[in-house]
Amino acid sequence: MYLGLTPREEEIRAVAREFAEKEVLPGAAERDRTGEFPAALVRRMGELGFYGLPYPKEYGGGAEGTVAYSLAAAEVARCDAAVGLTMAVNATIGTLAVFLFGTEEQKQRWVPGVLQGKLISAFGLTEEGAGSDAAAVKTAAVWDGGGGGSSVGQGVGGAGQWIINGEKIFITNGSVADFVVVAAVTDPELGSRGISCFIVPTDTPGFRVAKKFTKMGLRCSDTAHLIFEDCRVPAANLLGKRGEGLKMFLTVLDTGRVGVAALSVGLAQACLEDSLAYAKNRVQFGQAIGKNQAVAFRLSETATEVEAARLLTISAARARDKVMEAAEKAPGQGGGRFTTEAAMAKMFASETAVRAALTTLQVHAGHGYCLEYRAERLFRDAKLMEIGEGTSEVQRLVIARGLGL
């Protein structure tokens, strides 16, 4: 398939594949069994520069672009999607919020550390009452100390502090993170325009991990329920402008969705490879099962969908790179959005991954249902892709809005 990649992107993909096959694949089944967070691997990937691929060099990034990043993320997910999710959340949502909207000081404090593997970030949006409906967050931040914190649409200064109270659920990297970017209501009377965004270091008194969720898949990815109880952070920890938190979170999710699309492509690719290998080797009725059109046609469709998902993902990543380039040339203009492209890629790739995983299960039949092959794990892992960073239904809402409906 012609992917329109630059030679450099091709090479990054090859290096990422080599690394993933050598260092991510071998422990994947064991990590799925134990659910243990692979801290050393996560650090090592930072040292190698996986998280920094789409960031500029000034902040410790590799300046290789979002396409290169997506290819690398897909290669990691092809070997272990749980490690892929850890990478994607760390690189493209938690840290990205700081990179896109932070002051120079905030960026220098948090971004290079993550990109070098020394720090881990998390993105705290979801709450019990605010899943798909992100604007319904209840976590509240109250300004204590008069002075600078008062007006909407401005940065704040002064000697006061924000006091944050509330709970976040399903937060990836939540119990291992050094800081969480948190959406909290600062101005309840303003509804969705009263939500702001804060950087909360996890050593802030009052922050605690209520529990870690046990999941059906992506089991070594850390997913936590976080509690903020009178967490005090200084004015300097407000990210971006007061009242623009929701807009900022949704902007970050555009990139996040390209990341999830990439993970989905990697998973779908793994499904296809496993299915093909099994279909070529398993003999029933005197021939390889892949010789039956019922099996062959199903895999033809899977292969086509995987390629389509890959192209959509690369295209969305390319769109993001154009937006970032434009933003760099004309600072302050925002550079435009790629919301619809990202939603399309995420929706199609995640649904491709789930269909491909079901096919893998069916092709492996009895062995697929049992644990000695990884077909069942691929299925358990794939399902999250249709849920996280906006469900498939929410992607359809976003796309429809993009279509002017």
Partner: protein
Amino acid sequence: MLNIAVCVKQVPDTEARLSVAADKTRIEEQGISFILNPYDEHAVEEAIRLKEKQGGTVTVFCLGPARAEEAIRTALAMGADKAVHLADAAFGGGDEGTAAAALEKAIAGKSFDLVLAGRLAIDDASGQVGARLAEKLGWPHVTAVTRLAVEGREAVANREIDGGSQVVAVTLPAVITAQRGLNQPRYPKIPDIMKARRKEVAKVTPADLGLSGGEVGGAGAKGKVAGLAPAPGRSAGKVIAGEPADAARKVVGLLRDEAKVI
């Protein structure tokens, strides 16, 4: 300008769970991962730093099977320029003597100013190859170096000795072996790995080095590993209960009468 040779070995990962192979003379390689010997990492790092400061080239020499190319690529990704891999099967099964002899043939006469190597390889832990290589080359050597300064044709090296340190000055060419603490090895990043993929790794055979089959590997070795056994598992400790003063008295008694260590 310094032309530096670095000798590296690929060894089992420090985190690998090792077992003895069926023939009881080797470790079982199935299912374990391999790394660049940690002491050699310091040697590579020091070579690259010297090159960065003074100019020149860094060439990696590695004796080991095909899989060892991964360790070579790590050294290249760190910043070495090129590599020579003594990968021929005939080199296998040798001892420190054959390893040093083969490396000497590969390194001698190539106008190297300095050879760096690790203090020892963590697999066999014999710590001989660097010194033997220096003897064969007829060059001075300093082992277990924690600080190195090269100026003109002189190298000044600090080495650890029991209860202190020693400063040794040698004239180049010389062989230096690296101790932990010499430096903090760098982590190669993805672009470095990409560059390393394009660097040259020359594969050489005994014949290329002017050595006969009988002079290398198992055929040339004067020593052989006759047996290998895992360390005995540690037996369970003893917990002495009671008041601290009584317990301390009991411990002293046991150390004297039972363990006979005091």
